[in-house]
Subunit: 215 residues, 2 copies
């Protein structure tokens, strides 16, 4: 009988993930992962046919981690704002995973870079339709306009050169939400929803008055 397995497949993925978190996906090399494991490169190639295979697993794990952030945001009191805030938190806390999921060409990341985004949009749409009685199209527009700003902030964060403070970003997010909220009612030619605009307004302003919340 052979000796018992020292490095489970999952442990190898975990080690590779840790390397990716600290130094980026390009630093996920055979010897680097082996050092993280405290072993040699051998076990890696007994479980994985190639490094690309292992990196694909890392992508999957990164996507799972991202998913937990988004879901926590949706569970909060203002779902579409919550998703945005959690998206920013993900960028702050996992900048290298953010780069992996959102700043690569779709052919360079298994599953497509924007798959995670579409997933967020689907969840946000459902929440907005339920809570504020929006129709799907309006919800998508809402999500889009806020997300466009959030995406910018997040990308600035991971490029390590964000010219805005956390307070500024939070203020702008609220501003934009309010602007969108008003614009979609008052500017002709834009989609006219029959949703509960006043409820959003109350939520947003109430939230702003509260100061910070949600950890």
């Amino acid at each position: 009988m052979p000796p018992r397995i020292r490095f489970q497949k999952e442990e190898i993925v975990e080690a590779a993930l840790n390397v990716a978190r600290r130094k980026g996906i390009d630093a996920v090399k055979a010897r680097e992962v082996a050092a993280e494991l405290g072993g040699s490169v051998g076990p890696i190639f007994t479980w994985f046919g190639s490094m690309d295979e292992l990196k694909a697993e890392v992508c999957g794990r990164a996507r799972e981690i991202y998913r937990t952030y988004v879901e926590r945001g949706l569970a909060g009191p203002i779902p579409f704002l919550g998703v945005g805030q959690q998206y920013l938190r993900f960028a702050r806390e996992e900048p290298e995973l953010y780069r992996l999921l959102f700043l690569r060409r779709p052919d360079q990341v298994s599953g497509g870079a924007m798959e995670a985004l579409r997933f967020s949009q689907d969840l946000a749409r459902e929440s907005l339709m339920r809570i504020y009685r929006m129709d799907g199209k309006t919800a998508d527009c809402y999500f889009r306009d806020l997300w466009l700003v959030v995406f910018s902030f997040a990308t600035l964060i991971v490029t390590d050169d964000c010219p805005y403070t956390e307070e500024e970003m939070s203020a702008v997010l609220t501003e934009v939400s309010l602007s969108v909220c008003k614009a979609y009612k008052e500017i002709p030619g834009l989609p006219e929803g029959s949703y509960d605009r006043d409820a959003i307004f109350r939520d947003l302003v109430g939230r702003q008055a509260d100061g910070k919340s949600e950890g």
Copy 2:
């Protein structure tokens, strides 16, 4: 006497720039540039101490190219919208240079990634103050809110997975401009400028009615 110089320093930078445009800055390797030149790696190291030195020159050239785009945008009829449109054009036409200038950590690109942004903001501020009689702070807020959306679009473009059509992006830009324009007058607690809001409105709506323009 030696034979005449076959590869001027500038030609080498040009070759490296072409490689960076086609395959990204990471593909700027000694042998790759030599092949682009139609020569060997020799001349590269007679003019440059290292490949990093050459790459720094490429960064400089990329920044110059970006500058011409922004300046063309500012020369148009609606400066802050023009800069945004030219920024998008730069992302579309020079995606690899965009990645180089805007999607790298400041320590990985000589001069800092966001230097080009600050340059744009300075130019936009001057234009907005002159044309619409804004004060500097309001102009910066204006630029910021529009640029946050533009930055998202541009980054989506270079990740090759932009879920929006060109028409959608143009429409959203105008929407956002209008929203900002309204919001800065009507929402309490936001900066109150004394600028010519109606002029912006006219420009934006007139432009939208015109359909497309500016090549």
